[in-house]
Structures are given as structure tokens and as C-alpha cells.
């Protein structure tokens, strides 16, 4: 996976997490994984189709999800399990949507589908393609993004 595909996700995660959580974010470790992905607890999966195809998993531990949902709702502790899920889903939507915006403005053409939320550490991706896992440190905890995408077509005017 080329850096031109990855950098927009780093920039978007940094900006969106910082604004929503009102804190600085720090980019942690990167790893390449070839085996199926196991969720940390609350995961939103977004599928992309078009010039680039694949999926992105936005994933946090349950306690981190609760802390993030509380901050974003402006309350001490978010008790609604449904709203915790919704918050992670919306964060994923914003990070991935902003990254997709940058990639589209760079000439790639593709669409995103609405995020699907999965819960529990047992959730496992069902493909064995190589994926990049990025970790962001925030004051609420770690955010993991697992990106598995490949070129279907090059940008307009470019050749494969």
C-alpha cells in the first residue's frame, strides 16, 4: 500500500480526533498484518468502492469508547450503550470521510458505504489481504485503524 493512500487517513484522524475529543493526538506504531484482524472491542467497518477498493476498520477498546462518547456528549459518563456505539460509528465516518475527500480531490474516484459497527473482541475480518494497522494515542485511549485497500484503477490520466 502506497503512502499516498495512507497519509490522508493519518491527517484526517489527527484533525478529527483532536477536534472532537479536544486533545492532542500522537501517532503511535504502524504494523503490517497479513492475518485476519481481531477487534479490540468496538469496531466500525467502512467499505470503499471505486478506483480504490477495500475496507477500513476503526477500532477502540470498550473503555476508550465510553470515554470518547462521554467527552463528545459533554457529560461525565455516557451510560447509553447505544450512544457509545453510535459515537464510535460517527467518529469513524468523519475520519474516513475526510480522508476520502482528500483522495477524491487528488483524482481518485470512489465512494464509501455507511459504517457498520461490530462489538466484542471476537469480531474478526474475513479476508487475508495485507493490512496496515495504525495506532493513535489520545487522552481517552488508543485508536486503531486497520486499512486494507488496493488499486482497482489508477487516477485519471495515470496507468497501472
Amino acid at each position: 500500500m502506497k503512502m499516498e493512500l495512507i497519509q490522508p487517513f493519518i491527517n484526517a484522524a489527527d484533525a478529527v480526533l483532536a477536534q472532537n475529543l479536544n486533545c492532542q493526538t500522537r501517532l503511535g506504531h504502524f504494523t503490517m498484518e497479513e492475518s485476519a484482524y481481531h477487534s479490540k472491542g468496538v469496531a466500525a467497518v467502512v467499505t470503499v468502492v471505486g478506483d480504490i477498493e477495500g475496507r477500513i476498520i476503526f477500532d477502540v477498546e470498550p473503555a476508550t469508547a465510553t470515554r470518547m462518547a462521554s467527552i463528545m456528549a459533554g457529560i461525565e459518563r455516557q451510560e447509553s450503550h447505544e450512544l457509545v456505539r453510535e459515537t464510535i460509528c460517527e467518529l469513524a465516518n468523519q475520519v474516513i470521510g475526510n480522508a476520502i475527500t482528500t483522495l477524491n480531490d487528488q483524482g481518485f474516484r470512489f465512494k464509501v458505504h455507511p459504517p457498520q459497527v461490530h462489538e466484542g473482541e471476537g469480531m474478526k475480518s474475513n479476508e487475508d489481504t495485507e493490512a496496515l494497522v495504525m495506532c493513535f494515542d489520545t487522552d481517552s485511549g488508543k485508536v486503531f485503524m486497520n486499512i486494507a485497500m488496493h488499486y482497482k484503477r489508477r487516477r485519471r490520466g495515470e496507468q497501472l
Binding site: V16, Q19, N20, A69, M72, A73, G74, E82, L83, E86, T87, C89, E90, N93, Q94, V95, I96, G97, N98, I100, T101, T102, N104, D105, R109, K111, V112, H113, P114
Partner: protein, 145 residues
């Protein structure tokens, strides 16, 4: 949340909004902002198809419409609403804000575009711009939460 001077209809009544987003969280977040502007949430919808029905039932002053949604996406819903109700004012609110998408939304009837994550001060200015002479700004600010 920041305090804003209330944006009201010319008759002094609160602006009525229809909020369309498949995310409950996003709808709640926009509702809080609208209330901080002195507005009133007339209704909510979770997809484009429901938005068309709700618009016909509620006739709100403004629609805040997400783009990526199940059933029917926001741009198509905006187009159908404006086709049936030429006076409709639809503001697209989406994380997917690339140029082609914005142009498509504007060509198909939306009045403006706000990218997520939404900054309250940006949405506030866009609402005033879209309402134009159909709104007034009250002197007193609302008490935000």
C-alpha cells in the same frame, strides 16, 4: 457550548429544522447546536426516503442533510425535496466533502455544504447566509449548555 445570538424567522418565531442523518449521535449533536442558535428541531429522519416524507409533513424552514446514508443518499433526497418544494432550503452536512460531491449537491438543489466535524460557528454563519432576509438575529444570546 458557545453562546450565539438567536437566529429567528422574520416573524420572531424560532427557525424550524429537519435533521437528516443515519447517525443518532450526529442528529443529537446537530440538535444541540441548533438549540444554541435559538432554533427548534421540528423532526428527524435517518435516511433520504424518510426525509422526503418528513419534509412534506413538517415543512421546516431548513433541512440539514447528511450525504452517505442507507436507503437513499442525501443528494438524491435533496433533489427530490427541492423538486417538490421549490422553496426548500437544504444544507448538506457530511464528512465526505470532495469538490465533485459538493458541486453535485449544489447543482441538484442544495443551498450550501458544511463538512463534518461540524464547527458550531461555521454552521451558524451558513444558516444565516442561507436564510438571508428571511431571518433576523435577535440581540440576546441563547444560554448554551
Amino acid at each position: 457550548m458557545e453562546q450565539f445570538a438567536r437566529v429567528l424567522r422574520k416573524d420572531g418565531q424560532p427557525l424550524r429544522y429537519l435533521i437528516v442523518d443515519d447517525s443518532v449521535f450526529a442528529r443529537k449533536n446537530l440538535s444541540r447546536m441548533i438549540e444554541s442558535f435559538g432554533g427548534q428541531v421540528a423532526g428527524e429522519a435517518g435516511d433520504g426516503r424518510a426525509a422526503i416524507t418528513e419534509y412534506g409533513r413538517l415543512h421546516p424552514d431548513l433541512v440539514l442533510m447528511d450525504i452517505t446514508m442507507p436507503e437513499m443518499e442525501g443528494i438524491e433526497a435533496a433533489e427530490l425535496i427541492v423538486r417538490q418544494h421549490a422553496e426548500a432550503r437544504v444544507i448538506m452536512v457530511s464528512s465526505v466533502g470532495y469538490q465533485e460531491n459538493i458541486v453535485a449537491a449544489l447543482q441538484r438543489g442544495a443551498r450550501h455544504f458544511v463538512q463534518k466535524p461540524v464547527k458550531a460557528e461555521v454552521l451558524y454563519e451558513v444558516i444565516k447566509y442561507v436564510m438571508g432576509e428571511e431571518c433576523v438575529v435577535a440581540k440576546s444570546a441563547t444560554q448554551g449548555s
